[in-house]
């Protein structure tokens, strides 16, 4: 292969903040004092926090250096499965930084916040349209928060039906947040195994579904990157027993304009704006996890609801059946702006195209690497494909070794060891914003690494060697936690 894109260069160390600085320095311009100091009861006051004093240049250099120890989508390919690390258009950032948006107070009279409310109202409509659902709330802060909100809606629904239910069906391929969100809402998750094709069988669900079961949580496409082909039949079964169907929509990037979840039996679902709708991940957040529902769940949505009263937007708190609130204010407004901008820039055709290309990229990688890596489910995939380290295991090379070695080649590793149903899983989600050349380079790199695995396994065991640090001791970190300096 041609020269690896991964190499090394000069970067600078920087100590911890409190190992820098000197008392009396300033990195902040203290506003002019135009009032006198007022008496303040000393019993109420403390010493103030023990923060270091730094100059602006200290702070700027510190974070400039730290940033150079990081890798982002803007640096290179980041095929982290299930995370949809697509490129975030820079125009999103520009829009989100407009003074009216950043300065808006959430409790201002609605007459003074029309632009904000209109954006939210329209975004709700777009998301309902894309999912084929009837109504959307933007309040949840992330995917898991959306799941929890969805569980609360289901809970409220059954409560209204008069009989609360105790269980919820969750496939073994589900993301950890699914059972956790269900549990947070008091439900006991009942695991069902996916079949040899990696999807849910009608029978498996039929077996466990009963009147004690509030419903099912299906991730579709699922975490093996496969479409749940039986979802419609499964929904019928669940509905027949009075249950509801929750769809984890974190993987919606595969099927925009191709599948409307509302049309295949889904009653409630969340979207991850920080995945499908290009809002950047910010090193772990903030995200936004809107929840879309069918009519029968709309009365339970969190308050306030944005309403259009012939041209003026108002906030409606008077919703007797609402579950209440899951965040203090309206949700991650700053994130919504970016998703809204993305949808407006893309338009309907490009959103569908994005899904098609994300699926094309994943299938292309699947075909290119399937000889090199073991492919547990050799079927057409959606937006991601899952390999395993089975071929390499013999040589004591693990998924982790290959992942770490990828760093030296200049790529962020895929998601590893998830989903749990695949031993040593390597979950690759390229997203549509990776070009063929970038993907070809990734494939070449992976092949080169698999060669190294047989010819020079230590290259993998010692990897990464290019990063600022070598492999880190996570065991000690957990055994003797040092969580603050």
């Amino acid at each position: 292969m041609k020269e690896s894109i991964g190499t090394t260069g000069l970067i600078l160390n920087d100590p911890l903040l409190w190992e820098k600085g000197k008392k009396g320095r300033r990195g902040f311009s203290i506003p002019r004092r135009d009032v006198e100091s007022a008496p303040l009861n000393q019993d109420l006051t403390g010493d103030g926090p023990d923060f270091p004093d730094l100059s602006e240049v200290d702070v700027v250099r510190h974070y400039t250096r730290l940033s150079q120890w990081n890798f982002g989508v803007d640096t290179g390919m980041y095929p982290l499965g299930s995370c949809t690390m697509k490129y975030s258009p820079k125009t999103n950032e520009r829009q989100a930084s407009l003074p009216g948006f950043t300065g808006a107070h959430p409790l201002m009279p609605t007459s003074l916040s029309q632009g904000a409310l209109r954006m939210m109202f329209e975004l709700e409509q777009y998301l309902s349209q894309i999912t084929g659902m009837d109504a959307t709330t933007l309040q949840p802060a992330a995917g898991a928060h959306g799941e929890f909100t969805g569980m609360l809606l289901i809970h409220a629904f059954h409560k209204k039906q008069g009989a609360q239910r105790s269980k919820i069906i969750v496939p073994d391929t589900a993301h950890g947040t699914n059972p956790a969100s269900a549990a947070l809402c008091g439900y006991r998750p009942v695991a069902v195994a996916s079949n040899e094709q990696g999807i849910l069988s009608v029978e498996a669900v039929d077996e466990v579904m009963d009147e004690e079961t509030a419903g099912i949580m299906v991730t579709n496409p699922n975490t093996l990157g496969l479409f749940e082909e039986n979802s419609k039949r499964i929904a019928e079964i669940v509905h027949a027993k009075g249950g509801l169907v929750y769809c984890d929509g974190a993987n919606m990037n595969a099927v925009m304009g191709i599948v409307k979840m509302g049309a295949i039996g889904v009653d409630v679902m969340q979207l991850n704006l920080h995945k499908t709708f290009s809002t950047p991940h910010g090193g772990g957040g903030p995200g936004s996890g809107p929840v879309c529902v069918r009519k029968h769940l709309e009365p339970f949505l969190p308050v306030p609801r944005v309403k259009d009263e012939n041209g003026t937007y108002v906030l409606d708190y008077e919703r007797p059946e609402t579950i209440g609130k899951v965040q203090a204010f309206h949700g991650a407004f700053g994130v919504m702006i970016k998703a809204y901008s993305y949808i407006r820039r893309m338009g309907p055709e490009n959103l569908k195209k994005a899904s098609q290309l994300s699926v094309l990229n994943a299938n292309y990688i699947k075909e290119k690497l399937k000889g090199t890596l073991h492919l547990p489910y050799d079927r057409p995939c959606m937006h991601e494909c899952v390999f395993s380290d089975e071929y390499q295991a013999a040589r004591k090379i693990t998924t982790l070794d290959m992942a770490k070695r990828l760093m030296d080649y200049g790529f962020h590793p895929p998601t590893v060891y998830f989903p749990l149903v695949v031993h040593g899983a390597i979950m690759v989600e390229p997203t549509e914003t990776e070009s063929k050349e970038d993907i070809d380079q990734f494939v070449e790199a992976f092949k080169a690494i698999v060669n190294e695995a047989s010819e020079n396994p230590d290259l993998l065991h010692d990897a990464p060697v290019s990063c600022k640090v070598k492999r880190l001791d996570e065991t000690t970190a957990a055994r003797k936690p040092c969580l603050a300096g």
Binding site: F51, G72, P179, P302, M346, G347, L360
Partner: protein, 443 residues
């Protein structure tokens, strides 16, 4: 399309590799009856320039400072943010990275969040702070659930002068758990009535906010002791993190868990979100904390490095047995807060907090001079309640037209407080603005 790099040749050759003829054929595993045949009913694509105009129009329609003088806090505060913080926060290595699952490639985020945890813990006076939560309200709810887990009791008492919207979130989180949430009434002085606790027994936690929703400073110490007498955990909450730049922090007043909102620390208000849920606890409760934690460790060469740790608390390992379902948090907001705390510094935050206090006291005094009565006489930080004469509502609306927002009406949240308004003054309000406000409300 700018964000779709594939040329038609690319697509053709890739389809060939995959072994299908058309993009549609990629979806063979999607049953016919699951396929959506129509076109999405969405507005057609805008150019980057059309989007700029459209968004500018939306943004311009929103009332913000400096054009508007907004004397309103109530959980969302206007504070100055240095240009250096905004610039640094925009660096794409921070913005476009994911949760640091691969530490060798994410040391920037990891050290920065470790530093955030440390500064946050110092601000709250606690031993351990998490990497961030969604917002102050969700953090409070999770803190109370944590207390329920720790004490195996299922009743919590929360002050009625905790932010009403925070209480609403707590109610929502608790609804399905079967746990009981009792509310402690407030006294005419504007602080929580300790007597409210006398009856209550078998409590998992007692939650108090200070400065409370009325801006009044509560006696954490006293409530902490009362809670501990009942073997309940004491949960301290806050909406204005800057207050602890000068006020006694929750930790030294006996808090077991602290949960609040960090928006004041360098994060724009942006219509209420994203904010920063801050959550901290004593070391001994560390393993029961919800949410991510960054820890210090060493690499193979013995160099200092940082990793996500204590993952066995988390959903991706423990699934339904996890301490929480949280996965994505508000990392970039925590980073902003760290940059802000580093910029303000220990000396600066005291000065800045004091300035907030002094300015609020100035407005209080001027309003009193002007003949208005304060709603409560407990000491406050940068927010306080004013009791205006009946019918002030119309004056309030008149002032809006003049670009002045004279606080938040409390009637919606506390029906008994008709014509009472919650006013906020930060370092961003000049004496001149305050004098104008007083002049205007007087007339």
């Amino acid at each position: 399309m700018l964000y779709l790099p594939h040329t038609s040749e690319d697509i053709a050759s890739m389809l060939k590799t995959v072994g299908v003829d058309e993009l549609d054929d990629l979806f063979s595993t999607v049953p016919e009856d699951c396929r959506f045949k129509g076109d999405l009913n969405l507005p057609e694509a805008l150019t980057e320039w059309e989007l700029n105009d459209h968004m500018k129009a939306l943004s311009d329609s929103i009332a913000v400072s400096p054009e508007y003088k907004v004397f309103m806090g109530a959980g969302s505060y206007e504070h100055f943010i240095p240009a250096s913080v905004s610039y640094l926060l925009s660096r794409s290595e921070f913005v476009t990275s994911y949760t640091p699952y691969q530490p060798e490639m994410s040391q920037g985020t990891l050290q920065a969040i470790y530093e955030y945890q440390t500064l946050a813990a110092r601000l709250m006076g606690m031993e351990v702070a998490t990497a961030s939560h969604y917002d102050g309200a969700a953090a409070l709810a999770e803190a109370l659930l944590m207390a329920v887990r720790l004490t195996k009791r299922n009743r919590v008492a929360i002050s009625s002068v905790i932010h009403p919207l925070y209480r609403r979130v707590v109610q929502t989180y608790f609804e399905p758990t079967g746990c009981e949430v009792i509310e402690l009434p407030y006294l005419s002085t504007g602080v929580t009535d300790p007597a409210g606790l006398d009856a209550a027994d078998d409590l998992a936690a007692v939650a108090i906010q200070s400065p409370n929703f009325f801006g009044c400073i509560e006696d954490f110490q006293a409530f902490g002791e009362k809670a501990h007498d009942r073997e309940a955990l004491f949960v301290a909450s806050f909406t204005e993190a800057l207050a602890y730049g000068i006020l006694k922090n929750p930790g030294i007043q006996g808090a077991d868990i602290v949960a609040g909102e960090g928006q004041s620390l360098g994060i724009p208000r942006s219509f209420g979100g994203p904010g920063l849920g801050m959550l901290a606890s004593r070391q001994k409760f560390m393993r029961s904390l919800p949410g991510r934690l960054v820890g210090q460790t060493k690499d193979l060469d013995g160099r200092r490095g940082f990793v996500l740790t204590l993952a066995t608390r988390e959903q991706h390992i423990r699934r339904e047995k996890a301490t929480s379902n949280i996965c994505t948090n508000n990392s970039l907001c925590a980073l902003a807060a760290a940059m802000y705390m580093a910029s303000v510094g220990g000396t600066g935050i005291r000065e800045l907090a004091r300035l907030n206090y002094d300015k609020a006291e100035y407005l209080k005094a001027e309003l009193k001079k002007a003949g208005f009565s304060l709603g409560f006489d407990s000491p406050t930080f940068n927010e306080f309640v004013v009791g205006f004469p009946p019918g002030f509502k119309s004056t309030h609306e008149e002032l809006l037209k003049k670009g002045i927002v004279a606080g938040l009406s409390l009637e919606t949240y506390y029906p008994e407080l008709a014509d009472h308004y919650l006013l906020c003054v930060t370092e961003t309000s000049s004496k001149e603005d305050m004098d104008t406000l007083v002049r205007e409300v007087r007339s």
